[in-house]
């Protein structure tokens, strides 16, 4: 059998040029390649699985953080990104279809479209990340929000002024006198209305903020406790829970790692695009297109789960 393969390979049949000597048929070679790709994808699933586990543990223990902080994210942008990735998955699967059918020109077009949708995804991501950077919605000690959640889109006006129509603002403002009375330790650090009282001028940046929880605060978030004016606070969203920066740590790690995967995928698709333009692929050999497609679909799969978990918390 090996002799037969060698003899056929020597005759220069197009498919045999891509048939490695240790495979008997192109089909076997293709399926082996696919198996290898699936094994790699399973490692990717486990890779992200660790991050999903971190998410699950933190959300189970501190749902108030997630309920509060996810409002900083824009569901519309997230939804548009989801749509972009789904479209890119379609064009990628279409590209594989074209390669299998030998439609060279459309194959190149579909790969180019996949890259285009990927770029759209990157664009929206850039908008999201740059807004967060500008507004101080970052990880760890860099968490320094310029406004309370739900106010974005109104221009990141520092809510040192208390004229905002936001209900949160008026509720928070109601706690101001008490905050001034306490040694600052009972006031959530990000509540700039009180911070303005501390700092004087209606400006956020001048205030020294810390993400360390104040001592002796007791339970925060959804647990009902007397407010500083003596009334029960009730809904935890109205007041910022401690350690909100954890949400953003998780958010940036998960979406950042996903972003790296998108970039890597786009680079590989670009390589496949160049090879397609050179006519390397056809019905007898389309394995690289198929395998890169599998990777790209996995990137889409991960986003399909990231989107509701980060953006659509209820």
């Amino acid at each position: 059998m090996a002799g037969e393969a060698a003899a056929d390979g020597g005759q220069g049949h197009e498919h045999a040029a891509f048939l490695a000597h240790h495979f008997e048929t192109p089909k076997q070679q293709f399926e082996s390649g696919k198996l290898g790709m699936w094994l790699f994808l399973s490692t990717e699933v486990l890779f992200f699985g660790g991050l999903f586990c971190a998410y699950a543990v933190y959300r189970a223990n501190h749902p108030e953080i997630f309920l509060y902080a996810h409002k900083y994210l824009d569901s519309w942008l997230g939804g548009i990104n989801t749509a972009f990735l789904i479209c890119s998955s379609l064009t990628m699967a279409w590209a594989v279809h074209c390669a299998q059918r030998g439609q060279q020109k459309r194959l190149v077009q579909m790969l180019a479209l996949t890259l285009l949708f990927g770029c759209c995804f990157l664009g929206v991501k850039y908008v999201e990340y740059s807004h967060k950077w500008r507004d101080g919605l970052l990880w760890g000690t860099r968490f320094d929000p310029a406004y309370a959640p739900g106010e974005h889109g109104h221009g990141a006006e520092p809510h040192g002024g208390q004229g905002s129509a936001d209900v949160q603002q008026s509720e928070a403002a109601g706690h101001d006198p008490q905050a001034g009375g306490g040694a600052g330790s009972s006031e959530p650090e990000g509540d700039a209305a009180a911070a303005a009282a501390d700092a004087g001028p209606a400006g956020g940046p001048a205030v020294e903020r810390t993400t360390l929880p104040e001592p002796g605060r007791g339970p925060s978030g959804l647990a009902v406790r007397p407010g500083r004016s003596g009334e029960p606070v009730g809904h935890g969203i109205l007041e910022r829970p401690s350690n909100v920066h954890i949400f953003f740590g998780i958010y940036f790690t998960m979406t950042g790692l996903h972003l790296l995967h998108v970039l890597a995928g786009m680079a590989v698709i670009g390589w496949i695009l160049v090879r397609s333009a050179k006519g390397h692929f056809g019905p007898d050999y389309f394995t690289p297109v198929d395998l890169v497609g599998l990777y790209w679909h996995l990137v889409d799969l991960i986003w399909i789960y990231l989107f509701p978990l980060l953006y659509l918390i209820h």
Binding site: K34, L301, P308, L312
Partner: protein
């Protein structure tokens, strides 16, 4: 030129699958139908957040996400037509991730009562 289907190098592989090649080609219509379903499900996912079902919201969102993932996996990633072992690999990795998450959740809930009061708001003090 593309003799792959007729040139049985070893002589013992019968043709199966599409006539055009050695592997099944997903019809374009099916790809577009799956894409349309995915877009609709995305809209439903976003719309469902405006309906308050309490803790069911998360379960519903995950259920819809799983349906979408299944569609992508079965049709875009060709698992429906592949040898089952590829699906076993994917499902197996997901099973292990779920085990991972479940055990971590069990563990973290287990120690909550011993943590410093005031820093575990979900546990009654």
């Amino acid at each position: 030129m593309t003799d792959a289907t007729n040139d049985n190098l070893t002589g013992h592989h019968p043709l199966h699958g599409s006539e055009k090649g050695f592997v099944h080609v997903v019809p374009l219509r099916l790809l577009l139908a799956v894409w349309a379903a995915l877009m609709v499900l995305t809209v439903i996912t976003v719309g469902a957040t405006w309906v308050d079902l309490g803790c069911l919201n998360l379960a519903l969102a995950m259920a819809i996400a799983t349906i979408k993932a299944s569609l992508v996996g079965l049709y875009f990633m060709h698992l429906r037509y592949d040898k089952p072992f590829n699906a076993v690999i994917l499902v197996g990795s997901l099973v292990f991730v779920m085990l991972f998450v479940i055990f971590a959740l069990f563990d973290t809930q287990e120690y909550q009562p011993e943590l410093i009061p005031g820093h575990a708001p979900m546990i009654e003090q």
